[in-house]
């Protein structure tokens, strides 16, 4: 960790897709962001605001434009490939299919996750000791997955798969957890369960977290800091104090003031339930 307590720093992050064509999109526009250790940030914004692009840049799926810098634990990781960055960053994707491998068993998926940031060798990936570890990591979910270690993941429901993906993203305790609209494809009840599990794990591990969501209520209810994105910029950044007692309506007002536009995305206003 760097001296000033910041865990992640983004400096002059720009991302332009289809540069020089008629389809050119400025997905991220000069983002400056400092994430402190222990922060649980919720990021909200409408479609195309740049939320997922931001997470992809942090995770290393693609690089930012020249001049941008990504620093984690005081280390410049701007040029580090995605798989090397995974040592520091755990991620849960929107689609449960991306976070898990369907034909492989639960224990094989977990064994893959256990070795995050380590050299993979020629030892057998699953052994008795590791199975114990997997069981104790799955038991708190309360889904009974700990008794189904040899079940292929493809036979699990979307919610179960996403809960497993959450355990996989966090079990080797990366410095930063990225949750990319990870409950968006789940039914409301399952979404609530996975959301609560996320909060439980984040609290237990005191994990620095960035959660992207489409839902203003959720963005207000969870975490200790709220960032609103619009057209590739962060337009609102509220700390715990500033956002306490805030309602969805206050957020809409804040959005309109910051963006200078009328708020016109119903999908954000309406809670999922």
């Amino acid at each position: 960790m760097s001296e000033n307590g910041s865990l992640l720093q983004l400096k002059k992050i720009n991302k332009i897709f289809s540069r020089g064509t008629v389809d050119q999109i400025i997905a991220l526009n000069n983002i400056e962001l400092t994430v402190n250790a222990g922060d649980f940030i919720t990021i909200i914004g409408s479609n195309g605001a740049g939320k997922t692009t931001l997470l992809n840049i942090i995770a290393g799926v693609y690089p930012p434009e020249r001049g941008g810098k990504i620093i984690i634990n005081g280390k410049d990781i701007t040029n580090l490939s995605e798989h090397k960055r995974a040592r520091y960053i755990g991620r849960v994707f929107q689609d449960p299919h991306i976070g898990t491998a369907a034909k492989m068993t639960i224990e094989e998926n977990l064994a893959m996750a256990l070795l995050r940031g380590q050299r993979r060798g020629l030892g057998i990936a699953t052994n008795k000791q590791r199975r114990e570890l997997f069981r104790s990591a799955l038991a708190p979910l309360g889904l009974g997955l700990e008794d189904r270690l040899n079940t292929p993941v493809g036979t699990l429901s979307g919610g179960q798969r996403q809960a497993l993906a959450l355990v996989m993203a966090t079990m080797s305790k990366p410095s930063l957890l990225l949750l990319d609209e990870h409950i968006a494809t789940l039914d409301p009840r399952t979404a609530q369960i996975v959301l609560d599990l996320s909060e439980m794990i984040v609290r237990r591990e005191k994990m620095t977290t960035i959660m992207v969501t489409h839902n203003m209520e959720i963005a207000l209810r969870y975490g200790n800091r709220l960032i609103m994105m619009h057209k590739g910029r962060t337009i609102v950044d509220l700390n715990q104090q500033q956002r306490s007692n805030l309602t969805v309506n206050d957020l809409v007002v804040a959005f309109e003031r910051a963006s200078g536009e009328q708020f016109a995305d119903d999908s954000i206003l309406l809670p999922d339930k």
Partner: protein, 302 residues
């Protein structure tokens, strides 16, 4: 009775020897989801390397090992084209296959190298056991070698690296997000696959008594046929079962071929029949969906 016994033992020997091709094809097509066509070139490459070394007096065991190494190299080439230059997997394999045709001719110096008067691994095994070479001996030798390779693969696919390799074929994005290098696992898998294919080429060349530059034609389709037949007949679950099924499929394929030939099928029609067999197997899921009015994804081009 003798005819049947002979048919069975020859089919079994061939099934085991070509079984390494089937294992290789299984690793690329099924485990890695990498449709690698290098096989048609790496099979004769194995034969060529072994044959040239043997006629130049190199120990046949070493020659066979060198063939395996050459196959690894061919696979390395294909996988580097794909991972480092981002050339489509199918195209990377085809490019390597075409290049290997010339490379094989360069290695051999001519289109055909006879090995009938040379000492091969089969003679060495016979000498070691104080026996004369026979179909049975070849069969036992191929069986032992198959068991060794199967045991190694069965272990390897359960190791930490092996797991990453399997996951790569299923979900590359996940593998990268968990910190494993999918380029590396792809390179590893495609190389191992072609190493096995070249090993098969080296053994076949030594047993049949010659290496021919054209002996790899259709090898990929034959390997695929073996994998598909094995999966179809045995419906395996789990790595061990699948590996055994693939070898079983190779045996079944050779048995069908042997029976067809005895029933009067012209050998020249063999590749046509094999291609039709694979086409049928690949078309069945489509036809089944069509009948059930299920949604069918559009054909994949690249």
């Amino acid at each position: 009775m003798d005819v049947i016994g002979n048919l069975l033992s020859v089919s079994l020997y061939e099934g085991l020897s070509y079984g390494f091709v089937a294992m290789g094809v299984y690793i690329t097509f099924r485990v890695l989801a990498f449709p690698d066509l290098t096989v048609d070139g790496s099979f004769p490459l194995g034969g060529a390397v072994a044959a040239v070394l043997i006629i130049n007096g190199v120990n046949p065991w070493l020659a066979t090992l060198a063939a395996l190494g050459a196959g690894l190299g061919a696979g390395l080439g294909t996988s580097l084209l794909n991972t480092k230059l981002r050339i489509n997997a199918l195209l990377a394999g085809i490019l390597m296959m075409v290049a290997l045709y010339s490379i094989n001719l360069l290695i051999m110096g001519r289109a055909n190298i006879p090995l009938l008067r040379e000492i091969t691994v089969f003679e060495l095994v016979a000498q070691l056991l104080g026996l004369s070479t026979s179909v049975t001996l070849s069969l036992v030798f191929a069986l032992v070698l198959t068991c060794i390779i199967l045991a190694i693969l069965n272990w390897f696919l359960r190791t930490e690296i092996g797991l990453a390799l399997r996951a790569t074929g299923e979900n590359e994005q996940m593998v990268r997000s968990l910190g494993a290098d999918t380029d590396l696992t792809t390179i590893l898998g495609v190389s191992i696959s072609n190493g096995l294919v070249a090993l098969s080429g080296a053994l076949i060349a030594q047993n049949q008594g010659f290496c021919d530059v054209g002996m790899g034609i259709g090898m990929i389709v034959m390997g695929l046929a073996s994998v598909i037949i094995g999966e179809g007949i045995f419906r395996p679950r789990g790595i061990t079962a699948i590996l055994l099924a693939v070898v079983g499929g190779s045996f079944a394929y050779r048995l069908f071929v042997g029976i067809a030939l005895r029933l009067g099928l012209a050998p020249t029609n063999l590749k046509l029949i094999t291609a039709l067999l694979v086409i049928t197997a690949l078309a069945i899921p489509y036809i089944r969906k069509k009948i059930r009015h299920e949604w069918i994804p559009p054909a994949v081009r690249m």
